[in-house]
């Protein structure tokens, strides 16, 4: 079936009941979304579908036909990082970094819906995502910074 991922329509060969996460990683070679639990409890697999943050570990590709899927790779590149990525690099908001793509996507969903989101909004929005290294303070600071960058301040 066809999937719209980061602006490109791709043909995937996985069974329709396959969770999106495995298609992203194994078929499309997109590394950012991660396997953390497969249970919708940790958010490491978070991606965007039509702007909504979803658990790609639980979403079968069959329900995503025609939806615009975006991953961290769609937010920018190493050469030209987007504002969210720029913010996380500037704030050095990572220790092991495994949870970070999920955090970035969830923060992205919030800021696209609510560009002037406050720090309290950010903390609330990130509740579904877990971090074990304890990088929470920096993640919040990076999301705040991303909001500033997205609003055009520098």
């Amino acid at each position: 079936m066809k999937l719209d991922v980061n602006g490109l329509v791709v043909d995937v060969t996985a069974e329709p009941t396959t969770p999106l996460l495995y298609v992203l990683r194994d078929e499309l070679g997109l590394n950012a979304a991660k396997f953390g639990c497969g249970l919708g409890q940790c958010g490491a697999c978070t991606v965007l579908a039509d702007g909504e943050a979803i658990f790609s570990c639980l979403t079968p590709i069959s329900v995503l036909e025609g939806r615009r899927i975006r991953t961290v790779e769609g937010l920018g590149t190493a050469q030209k990082p987007g504002p969210m990525q720029r913010a996380f690099i500037d704030m050095q908001a990572a220790q092991c970094g495994y949870c970070i793509p999920g955090m970035m996507v969830r923060a992205q969903a919030l800021l696209e819906r609510k560009p002037d989101a406050s720090e309290a909004d950010i903390r609330g929005a990130l509740q579904p995502n877990l971090c074990r290294c304890g990088t929470h303070m920096r993640i919040v600071r990076a999301a705040v910074r991303a909001g500033e960058l997205m609003r055009g301040k520098s």
Partner: protein, 402 residues
């Protein structure tokens, strides 16, 4: 002693207590237990607010009533209320100054509590941390004086009288359920004036946009509840062949986790007894439900179920990480899909930081159409008549209406 409520006019004011009151430690502890059984915290604490300081909106068909500040603050709470005033509020729904209280405060149930229990609750409430917080104005356009009339028709005051035809445990359960537990406040249908229909006690009702299912012979549970299953459900929030607690009931179960095992057993016993079907009828229903579950599981379902639900729900609870086999879920057999819609969209998640089984939230993942398809498929598994206007219900809830 049962007595009808008399008098439409406002009642007399009661003078405040002369001095700050102190209470023996055991009485406070007993009151704490009773407060959990009655879930006072639930209606008297706003989201993110201080305990018992009020501010909770309670939606009624007549407008929004706000739970009041029942901390012992002298200005904004019930500081200074003597026991007499507290008892009158609990039994007759009248505050210290003599005003009628809206029956969103279920005094029609609390009236059944004994004097000793009310005194213990009083001791507990009066030793909470005083919080200065003004009560919010209710948006109910019905004047309080009307409540005098309402009470004269619908309020039967008086302590619970044990039924000699049943043993001590059953009566304890009845006392708790009919009294402080106020289960009927959600689980009994109400008439147009908002009073519980006593001739349809426990025939099913409403709470905060959720359906509170019938607990009597009309119970929609495919496998009829036993006292043991109810006990497990009330104790842990999950009963293997029945349900996982969700919505407002989840808060009730969370509070009941503080109650003694004996009280939980009594409540379970009493509630199980409300289902007056014969043993033979119950056994027939159970066997049919289990058979349907078995054959439904053998069906290949729609892609949504197979992709999004099957991985956990096909394993059954006994398996590692498995979940309730859905054909047995009570949410599927209720007269309305509302509960199931909310469960699928929001998941069932333990309170922040607490342990528990976890169903993830699927809103955003499934479009309204996909959710509608899934619901129709799940309903078909039960063999019950299809729900009407599932798409409409989904749309209402996803738009935030209740």
């Amino acid at each position: 002693m049962l007595s009808g409520f008399s008098g439409c006019a406002a009642q007399r004011a009661i003078a405040p207590a002369a001095a700050p009151q102190t209470f023996p430690h055991e009485l406070i502890a007993k009151g704490a237990e009773l407060a959990h059984l009655g879930n006072c915290l639930g209606c008297h604490t706003a989201e993110g607010g201080k305990p018992y300081a009020g501010g909770t909106p309670i939606q009624t068909p007549f407008g929004t009533v706000y739970g009041t500040n029942i901390t012992p603050d002298a200005d904004t709470g019930i500081g200074g209320w003597p026991l007499e005033a507290f008892t009158r509020a609990m039994r007759e729904g009248v505050d210290r100054s003599g005003r009628h209280l809206y029956p969103a405060f279920p005094y029609d149930h609390f009236t059944k509590a004994t004097d000793d229990d009310i005194a213990a609750l009083f001791a507990f409430i009066m030793t909470r941390e005083p919080v200065k917080q003004e009560n919010r104005r209710n948006t109910v356009p019905i004047p309080r004086t009307f409540l005098g009339f309402w009470k004269s028709r619908y309020l039967k005051t008086g302590v619970y009288r044990p039924d000699a035809g049943h043993d001590a445990q059953w009566n304890r359960g009845a006392y708790l359920v009919q009294g402080l537990g106020h289960c009927g406040a959600c689980h009994t249908p109400r008439n147009k004036l908002g009073a519980e229909k006593h001739d349809s006690a426990f025939a099913g009702g409403e709470a905060e946009g959720w359906h509170a299912p019938a607990l009597n012979a009309a119970s929609p549970s495919p496998v009829p509840w036993t006292p043991e299953a109810l006990h497990t459900y009330l104790r842990t929030g999950i009963a293997d062949l029945h349900a996982a607690t969700a919505g407002p009931m989840a808060e009730v179960v969370h509070d009941l986790s503080q109650a003694s095992d004996a009280d939980i057993a009594a409540i379970a016993r009493y509630i199980a007894s409300l289902d007056t079907r014969s043993e033979a009828d119950r056994a027939r229903a159970r066997d049919a439900a289990l058979e349907r579950a078995r054959s439904a599981l053998a069906m290949r379902g729609q892609a949504v179920y197979d992709g999004a639900c099957a991985d956990c729900h096909n394993r059954g609870r006994a398996e590692q990480g498995g979940a309730l086999p859905l054909p047995l879920g009570t949410a599927l057999t209720m007269p309305t899909p509302r509960n199931l819609i909310q469960i699928i969209r929001d998941g069932i998640v333990p309170p922040d930081g607490e342990r528990g089984a976890w169903m993830p939230a699927f809103k955003g993942m499934l479009t309204d159409e996909q959710l509608t398809d899934l619901l129709s498929y799940l309903r078909a598994l039960t063999g019950q008549p299809a729900w009407t206007d599932v798409a409409g219900e989904v749309r209402k809830i996803s738009r935030g209406d209740q």
